[in-house]
């Protein structure tokens, strides 16, 4: 029997893995992938809870919106990565360290 908890655990795992990718990977595109994983984990969560909301279908609607947002985010992020590469000649986030005083 697949209960709510199963979904939540899976989503938690995906979230953690996405978090790890964001924090630890040296490649900007993998960071982007990590962000996508996180968004996917959130979507899974939304859909899992949305099963108990038949009146408004809120979970599933917002999952759709999340997909759109993810797409927009990917587009812009890729554009930024390309520009950053043009400027710094690298996409290693370690080397792009001007975000400080």
């Amino acid at each position: 029997m697949i209960t709510l908890t199963h979904f939540l655990v899976v989503s938690a795992c995906l979230f953690s893995i996405g978090l790890y990718a964001v924090m630890a990977r040296r490649n900007a595109i993998i960071v982007l992938v990590g962000i996508e994983l996180i968004i996917n984990a959130a979507m899974l969560n939304l859909v899992a809870f949305g099963r108990y909301d038949a009146e408004r279908y809120g979970g599933q609607a917002f999952a759709l919106f999340a997909i759109v947002l993810a797409a927009a985010g990917v587009a812009v992020a890729l554009a930024i990565i390309l520009n950053v590469y043009k400027h710094y000649k690298t996409i290693n986030p370690e080397d792009i360290n001007q975000l400080k005083d």
């Binding site: 964001v22 924090m23 986030p93 370690e94 792009i96 360290n97 001007q98 975000l99």
Partner: protein
């Protein structure tokens, strides 16, 4: 004390002192422009006038004594005042009358000297001080003038101060005078503590209250005599007078023959009643010794001025004997006659030196113009000088018809009478004095013959190439005036007897002994005879050239080197002072400075400790705080990496922490 209404006499006396002082101030202010000496001569001429007036008013009249209050210390009041009695007005006139010819003579003698403006200034100061000394009415004022006179003498001896010998001589004179001044000071200090007053007329007056314990009066008397010894060049403090010949000859004639050196005799005459028998005996003995020793030294000297200097010392010894035997008026009489003839002797010597210097400069001879060995036969070239010097020499030896005869023979006669009255060893004194008279004749005739008679010693004179001349009227005039004063008429109408001397009649003192009329005849005849014998002897020795005694013996050397006294003083006195000064310097450098350095070192080490504390502890504290801040900053700085993922990490860590907190705390 007469009331304070100023009389003309008092004003004249004050003017006598103040005129030379004004002359001194004006010359000092005029500075280099006071070349002609007009200020000096005019003030001295006026001084002679006022002194004569004062003398005429006071001589044989009521004495005038005027006092003003000067300052008060506690309950003691000190005065300044003027005492005009026979003795003081006589000395006043004497000093003024001797000073005037010397001033006139100086015009020609010091002509062309670069420092002549200083000369007139110092002479004015000296005359003012000497005249002040003479009419001072209390010992404090007299002491002040005494010091001033010594100071003026110092300035004038060292007139040509660029010459080392002159600088040494004036130092010697001043230091020896200071030794005497200590004596004067102690003397009047004792008198003040004992009598409560310094007023001369009170001290020598008939009734005087005496608080002194027994020996102190003698001590005071001896102290005063010490002062007179230094000022009047008694043995052994006479050594400054021959050295003082470094000054100009006119200065020597005024100061070191006639007036300043007489100040000691004057002081003793002034406070004569203070002295008791012991002191008088000491005075007489010292005077005798001085007279003998100085005449002995004068025998072998070659410098014309040194012969005359020793002669002065010897005659001062005579004067001291006069005081010692109780006959101070005779001492004053001899002082007066000596003033005239000794001043004249020096002025003539100055004329001779002047001419010899011209000769040496003209022919570029390297000779000493004061050495009598370089002179000879000058009588042909300078007759006036020869005659005046001859008169003065005769006065010195006491030849009849001169004033010197009157005073010296009076002294000798009274000395013999005193010895006869005293009995015993006192006889030494008059016999020694007689011997000294013979020595006096010898040295002065030696001088005359070597300088004026015989043949010339230097080339240009000997072969008739050059002629010397008598001095100009500026110099000859004063010399002639003084020559006239050296003859008997100035002092007495009777040329051969001292009974009619007006001075002795004015200043009289009673003799405790009876007069011996035989002596009054024997002494003059004896001394005149001796003089003639000695004159003939010197003629034979020096003019003919047949010298009888050997010149290399120890007696000769002792005389020539002036008793080796200079070397003795140098080694003993000067050496001792230098040794003490060196010891004190060591003390100062090592002990005193050592103490100071010790404190400094202490301060330095304290400072080092404090510096260490400051550097390590205080600064360490400050630096520690700084390092702490830096360290903290350094650590916190690392959070600003600029790396995105680092920021993410921190962010999620924080969120994790908050969630954990909620879970753990809430649960």
């Amino acid at each position: 004390m007469t009331p304070l209404t100023p009389t003309y006499t008092l004003l004249a006396a004050l003017a006598t002192v103040l005129l030379p002082l004004i002359g001194f101030l004006l010359s000092a202010l005029a500075g280099k422009k006071a070349k002609s000496g007009a200020i000096g001569i005019s003030t001295i001429a006026l001084t002679v006038v006022t002194a004569a007036y004062t003398f005429a008013q006071v001589w044989d009249s009521e004495p005038i004594h005027v006092q003003w209050q000067w300052f008060t210390i506690g309950e003691q009041t000190f005065h300044v005042g003027v005492l005009l009695d026979n003795i003081s007005v006589f000395m006043l006139l004497l000093v003024a009358v001797v000073a005037l010819p010397v001033h006139i003579y100086s015009v020609a003698y010091m002509k062309g000297d670069l420092g002549i403006h200083r000369y007139w200034t110092y002479l004015g100061l000296f005359c003012a001080a000497m005249l002040g000394l003479v009419i001072a009415d209390n010992l404090l004022l007299m002491y002040i003038c005494w010091e001033l006179v010594g100071f003026a003498s110092y300035l004038l001896i060292g007139f040509w101060f660029t010459k080392d010998a002159a600088a040494q001589a004036n130092k010697r004179a001043f230091i020896i005078n200071r030794i005497g001044d200590i004596g004067f000071l102690i003397g009047f200090a004792i008198l003040y503590s004992g009598f409560g007053t310094l007023d001369i007329s009170t001290l020598v007056g008939p009734v005087v209250q005496n608080d002194l314990p027994p020996g102190w009066l003698t001590a005071a008397g001896l102290a005063f005599f010490l002062g007179a010894m230094a000022k009047s060049a008694q043995f052994p403090l006479h050594v400054w007078l021959p050295a003082a010949m470094e000054g100009p000859t006119s200065v020597s004639s005024l100061i070191h023959a006639a007036t300043m050196v007489a100040a000691g005799v004057y002081l003793l005459a002034r406070i004569f009643p203070v002295f008791d028998d012991t002191v008088l005996l000491v005075i007489a003995s010292t005077g005798t010794v001085t007279a003998l020793v100085a005449a002995y030294f004068a025998l072998t000297q070659f410098d014309i001025k040194k012969i005359l200097a020793f002669s002065t010392v010897s005659q001062l010894g005579f004067m001291m004997v006069g005081i010692g035997i109780g006959m101070y008026p005779i001492a004053l009489f001899h002082l007066a006659t000596h003033a005239f003839f000794k001043c004249l002797l020096f002025l003539c010597a100055g004329a001779v030196i002047h001419e010899m210097k011209h000769l040496a400069d003209k022919h570029r001879l390297g000779i000493d113009p004061q050495d009598i060995r370089n002179m000879g036969g000058l009588g042909r070239h300078m007759p006036i000088t020869f005659v005046t010097m001859g008169i003065a020499s005769l006065a010195l030896v006491g030849f009849p018809l001169t004033s010197g005869y009157l005073s010296k023979d009076a002294l000798l006669v009274h000395a013999f009478e005193w010895a006869a009255w005293q009995q015993g060893a006192a006889h030494i004194i008059p016999y020694v004095l007689s011997f000294v008279s013979i020595l006096t004749s010898f040295y002065i005739f030696r001088l005359l013959t070597k300088v004026f008679l015989g043949s010339a010693a230097v080339e240009p004179l000997a072969n008739g190439q050059t002629k010397l001349h008598d001095p100009s009227t500026w110099m000859a005039g004063p010399m002639l005036f003084l020559a006239v004063c050296s003859l008997f008429p100035l002092f007495s109408f009777h040329p051969l007897n001292d009974g009619h001397v007006w001075l002795l009649q004015g200043i009289g003192v009673s003799k405790p002994w009876t007069s011996l009329p035989l002596l009054h005849l024997a002494i003059p005849i004896g001394s005149a005879f001796a003089t003639l014998v000695v004159a003939a002897m010197t003629w034979r020795w020096y003019v003919k050239g047949t010298y009888a005694l050997k010149t290399e013996g120890p007696l000769y050397r002792l005389s020539f080197h002036q008793g080796y006294l200079d070397g003795l003083y140098d080694r003993v006195v000067v050496g001792a002072v230098l040794w003490v000064s060196r010891a004190l310097r060591w003390l100062d450098a090592h002990v005193v400075d050592g103490l100071v350095h010790g404190f400094a070192a202490l301060g330095r080490s304290l400072a080092a400790v404090v510096a260490w504390i400051d550097r390590r502890i205080v600064d360490g504290l400050v630096r520690f705080v700084g390092k702490l801040a830096w360290g903290l900053g350094n650590v916190i700085r690392r959070t600003q990496t600029g790396r995105l993922q680092g920021y993410f990490g921190s962010l999620f860590l924080l969120i994790l922490a908050i969630l954990l907190y909620h879970i753990i705390v809430q649960a």
